[in-house]
Amino acid sequence: MMNTKRVISTIEKNYILNNLRKEERIDGRGLWEYRDWTIKPDVISSAEGSADVTLGDTKIITGLKYDVGAPFPDLPEEGVCTFMAELLPLASPIFERGPPSEQSIELARVVDRGIRHADCVQTKKLCIKANKAVYILFVDLYVINYSGNLIDAGGISSLTTLISSHIPEGKWVDDQIEWTGKYLTGETIVNELPIVTTYGKINDIIFLDPNLPEELVSDGKISISVTEDKITSIQKSGLATFSLEEIDMLTKKSMEIGKKLRKELNLWQYKVKY
């Protein structure tokens, strides 16, 4: 496979495109196949839940920390779950140091939207006392190696983190929190498993899970999050345009691939016992 780090030549672009026309990928996959997944849950001892997920050469480590704070005034009985992503400069020569880039904000927000609108995190269970104290969860994604399709890897990594989570359980006694000695685990917090699938588009060819060279030459991407039976979010990025028929086809495809992936990865096996 090509050893691409930053730019890609016209000849390589044509090579990728010509292969795609024959429904072949430069790494030998079919158009609708993922690269290999490896998932390691609960790898960080200082976090209340974590995951080390690789998709091909893309590697993301995600960790969960919690805080107890006041709820939003309009949702007094619901906890908060926020997502942050950092594209570490060690992950790729394209990433720079400094404040969060557009790409990292997009990653966090697309992952957040897919999960938030899917009835995934049970925010009502994260309430200790209405109007007074709720859990605030911070799910932080760190990209360790960038080799295309951060969004799908980020989605699975966030889900695994939430499933493997173990947060000390608190009770409201005499106007303050008392720790019960038990844990809120992923089983209590997580309900639905939304799967986000990203497609690349070059000219009029659409394919699943773009790797780095494909992502560098593609006109654009579309990410679709689905639960078992519903679409929860769609994000199109880049300059590509998608016709109505294509969107229709891709949403059906996402349902299908989501179902398959949910079964293959079997994320519930990563829950921890406390």
């Binding site: 200082s46 920390k65 790729s92 911070f138």
Partner: protein, 248 residues
């Protein structure tokens, strides 16, 4: 796993049988695991697990200096960036780099710069990015160790590797390789880096103890240096085997 709600310090740092809280002898190191070439995009990279510390380091360079005004016409520059993940510590760290991280970055730069032949790379820069994913005491020492390994993996000409370890004083006794809790609750902590010396110190110790510490550090460092060398050697042995295997 014990439920820890508050970051409490234990009263004693030695168990009744004379061993430390994590079951180590006074001068026993925590388990150390090193790997090189773990990140595909970087010119050189290394991963280190030292007890509960989990650290990635990547080297990019020699490459153009950015911003350009930092470039020096007569020699290359080395920049080290030490960062901790938000979830690497007990209380969530703010995502933006703090003063502590900037200072450690500087200390590490000073520690690694003498190792390189920067005069061979005028107008260029080497950048070392170190990310601590899980921290449990002695991260700056672990970072110096892993950064040297990543530089060597990148094929940057070096005078030697650098190896670092912390020695210190807990409950009145000198010990090697302090863990997170020992660092916070103990009396003194002396991170030492060997080959080109550069040290920091905090706590209270008399001169005699200080000298003893340096000897202790040297003993521990010899062991860690051995691991470093083996990891690098194994990398090239693997390449050699692959090459000769392909020929036959």
């Amino acid at each position: 796993m014990p439920l820890i709600i508050k970051d409490e310090y234990p009263e004693k740092l030695f168990r009744e049988d004379g061993k430390r809280l994590d079951g180590r002898e006074k001068h026993e190191l925590r388990p150390i695991k090193m790997e090189v070439g773990v990140l595909k995009n970087a010119d050189g990279s290394a991963y280190l697990e030292w007890g509960n510390n989990k650290i990635f380091a990547a080297v990019y360079g020699p490459r153009d200096v950015h911003p350009h005004y930092l470039a020096k016409p007569d020699k290359g520059i080395l920049r080290v960036f030490y960062r901790m993940a938000t979830f690497s510590v007990f209380e969530r760290k703010r995502p933006a780099p703090g003063r502590r991280e900037k200072e450690i970055s500087m200390v590490l730069t000073d520690c690694l710069e003498p190792l390189l032949f920067l005069e061979l790379y005028p107008g260029n820069s080497f950048e070392v990015f170190i990310n601590v994913m899980n921290a449990d005491g002695g991260t700056r020492c672990a970072c110096a160790t892993v950064a040297a390994l990543a530089l060597a993996d990148a094929g940057v000409p070096m005078r030697s590797l650098v190896t670092a370890v912390a020695v210190g004083k807990i409950d009145g006794e000198l010990v090697t390789d302090l863990s997170g809790i020992e660092d916070k609750a103990g009396e003194a902590d002396l991170p030492c880096a060997i080959t080109w010396f550069n040290e920091e110190f905090d706590g209270k110790m008399d001169l005699e103890e200080f000298e003893k510490c340096l000897t202790l550090a040297k003993n521990a460092l010899t062991k860690i240096h051995e691991i470093q060398l083996n990891v690098l050697k194994n990398k090239y042995i693997a390449i050699q085997e692959e090459y000769s295997g392909g020929k036959n």
